[in-house]
Amino acid sequence: MTDEERQELLKKQKTDKLTPADRYKIPPQDMPEQDPVKRRSNVNEVATGYTETHARLEAMRCLQCKKAPCIKGCPVQIKIQDFVAAICDGDFKKALAVIKENSLLPAVCGRVCPQEVQCQQTCTVGLKFKDPTKAVSIGRLERFVADLDQEEIIPTVAPETGMKVAVIGSGPGGIVTAADTRRAGHDVTIFEAFHKTGGVLVYGIPEFRLPKAIVQKEIDVLTEMGVKIVCNFVVGRTRTIEQLMKEDGFDAVYIGVGAGLPRFMGIEGESLVGVFSANEYLTRANLMKAYDFGKGADTPIVRSKKVAVIGGGNVAMDSARTAVRLGAEKVYLVYRRTEKEMPARIEEVHHAKQEGVEFHILQSPKRVIGDQNSRVTAIECLKYRLGEPDESGRRRPIPIEGSEFQIDVDTCIIAIGNIANPLIRQTTAGLEFNKWGNILVDENCKTSLDGVYAGGDIVLGAATVILAMGQGRIAAAAINDYLAKKKQKS
């Protein structure tokens, strides 16, 4: 579509009454992005964002459905049709205000939500084209208005209540809990194990997908609101939850420590030099800025020539695309199902392919092979076929016997998920867990301990940013209730 055609269409919005048929005719607005060849060698954000014209045209594609089925797909029920209508009218301030009623981190969620299985899956326009990527680009619109918002508005804080809230972990769940409990006037402290705040948003998701400055801005707002942030503090080690509550005077606690331990496959050769968990690889690259090793940064990272990434989720895509940026000549993505079953966002799969990542589907490693120095030289894989659907509804991968073959690589990155970190479990008596080590909570995110709430990956297993955020909201509301009652009693 040319710019002139775009302008032409925009004019129509003002003069004509558009019918649904007219709206269906407006082509989905692609997001401008960095050239795939150029971006292979930089860590800047890939998708550069809509212009005002793009955004308004995309918003015009929305039919303003009476029942707005899109809202049901959004875990925090943003009033999507209202904010999209405001964009149509060019009232971006109002659009943002509508979003912020339900979501505190639109700049983040607009970028990383798996929209095609959430809000855009249920969008009428997408259903019409039988393709959620042709639905109204709700996430991109959300990002657009969030990015416009230059001056940060600091939410008003209620008068001090004198009650103390401890938030453990500064991931999306923790950030939201801290903001919402602080707004109610409580004295809130975030305890973070790392030297940097933001959780997976800073150490996991790479800069080229979510610029760190966006996360930092949200943290700065918290500080402005008077939330205290204590880094380098490992709850369970530096102090236990019991000490925080009994000795340090915290009246309520939110546990948002994320999932933690990386899963390995349990195959031969997995401890060889050159085999990494995605967590390690991404933490070295993102948090420790290892791509600048020798140019200031002190943390090294392997400079691989041939890399195999095992897995098909966002974490696998992020690892593969990070390897590309670190100069690998060949990056293979090895996944035991097919592209259709990949849990990664469609956009990330698309970007990974554009950047030259080679997809090896229906394959999975059986062992990792090393040389006499224990360095990885190859992976031996088995071919797979798909059988009947399993509990998750996805077709079960079945190994084909005798189909072994080798792929020569010097690095193997395992991105098959995480399991719950046992530290809180080992150090908190009375807290109840399920058999996978996730904390058990009720519908208000309350745990088995009085005054202790939990949410995000440590409760849900592997979740998403928006789900963690949603739980943070629920927990904060419950904490505010709990503390109001507690105050009345005293």
Binding site: A193, F264, S271, G274, G294, D298, T299, N421
Partner: protein, 284 residues
């Protein structure tokens, strides 16, 4: 929150010690535990160092480190009153301390530093302590006096015979094991290769042996798996499952290979740093 260096001293050519403000860690730390430090925020590497001693009243911890690469060199160049940006801890599982009877505490090189608090605690629990300290040469021997004070018997060896007995620590360890009253347990902390050979000795005599592993770490909270070692053929994370393990079950060969994973890059960084400190006159 940064951490002030209260005092700093050189113990031998390449070994340094400092007392650092870290009151919460001083209160919570137990023998066998360590901290992760990074000197500045943005670009510094995170490195693990054992809590060699703690003064909960004063709110300080003592670190003892050997200059082997960029970060330990940078730390060695710092002075009292300067600040370390990040100190996290106490991390890892504390050593299980009980009265076992007679114990052998074997330290090699910088390993004496992490061994000291454990030996102290074992002494306090009523054990009879036989310490064996090994060093390449006399100038590299550290903490002899401290060990002398708490040991019922102290044996010192040097590789070159410049002090104590000319031997590797495995020799006196073997003799100990051959005594009528052999140790009930051994605690060995040293470079990996020496732990490996000590474990081979004690295995023959069926003496349970605890080792403390010094793998490369990133987060030290169990999140990355970079510190993993093979224990009995299964992967374990040193930072959360350790740092202490049954030495007879450790795959030391693989661990040593993993320690060298970044050798070339690390050497380059160290060379660069040495050049830099030369330029700014720190060498004088």
């Amino acid at each position: 929150m940064s951490h002030k260096i209260v005092s700093k001293r050189k113990l031998s050519e390449n070994v340094f010690t400092a007392e650092i403000e870290a009151s919460l860690i001083a209160q919570a730390g137990k023998p066998g535990q360590f901290v992760i430090i990074s000197i500045n925020s943005e670009y510094s590497e995170r490195i693990p160092l054992t809590i060699a001693d703690a003064d909960p009243e004063k709110g300080t911890i003592r670190l003892i480190w050997q200059r082997v690469g960029k970060t330990t060199a940078e730390l060695a160049d710092m002075k009292a009153d300067e600040k370390i940006a990040n100190v996290v801890g106490p991390l890892g599982k504390p050593t299980h301390i009980e009265n076992l009877g007679t114990v052998a505490c074997v330290g090699g090189g910088i390993g004496n530093a992490p061994l000291l608090p454990i030996t102290k605690a074992l002494k306090k629990a009523g054990n009879k302590i036989i310490s064996i300290l090994g060093a390449r040469t006399k100038d590299l021997l550290i903490l002899e006096d401290e060990f002398d004070r708490i040991s019922n018997e102290l044996i010192v060896t040097t590789d070159d015979g410049s002090y104590g007995r000319k031997a590797l620590v495995t020799e006196p360890l073997k003799e100990l094991c051959q005594r009528d009253q052999k140790p009930n347990q051994a605690f060995v902390i040293s470079p990996a290769i020496m732990m490996k050979f000590c474990c081979e000795v004690t295995r023959k005599f069926n003496i349970p042996t605890q080792v403390s592993l010094n793998t490369i770490m990133v987060d030290a909270t169990g999140m990355c798996g970079g510190c993993r070692v093979e224990i009995d053929g299964k992967p374990k994370f040193v930072c959360v499952d350790g740092p202490e393990f049954d030495g007879h079950k450790v795959n030391f060969d693989l661990m040593m290979k993993r320690l060298d994973a970044y050798k070339d890059q690390e050497q380059k960084a160290y060379e660069q740093y040495k050049e830099h400190r030369c330029k700014i006159g720190l060498d004088k």
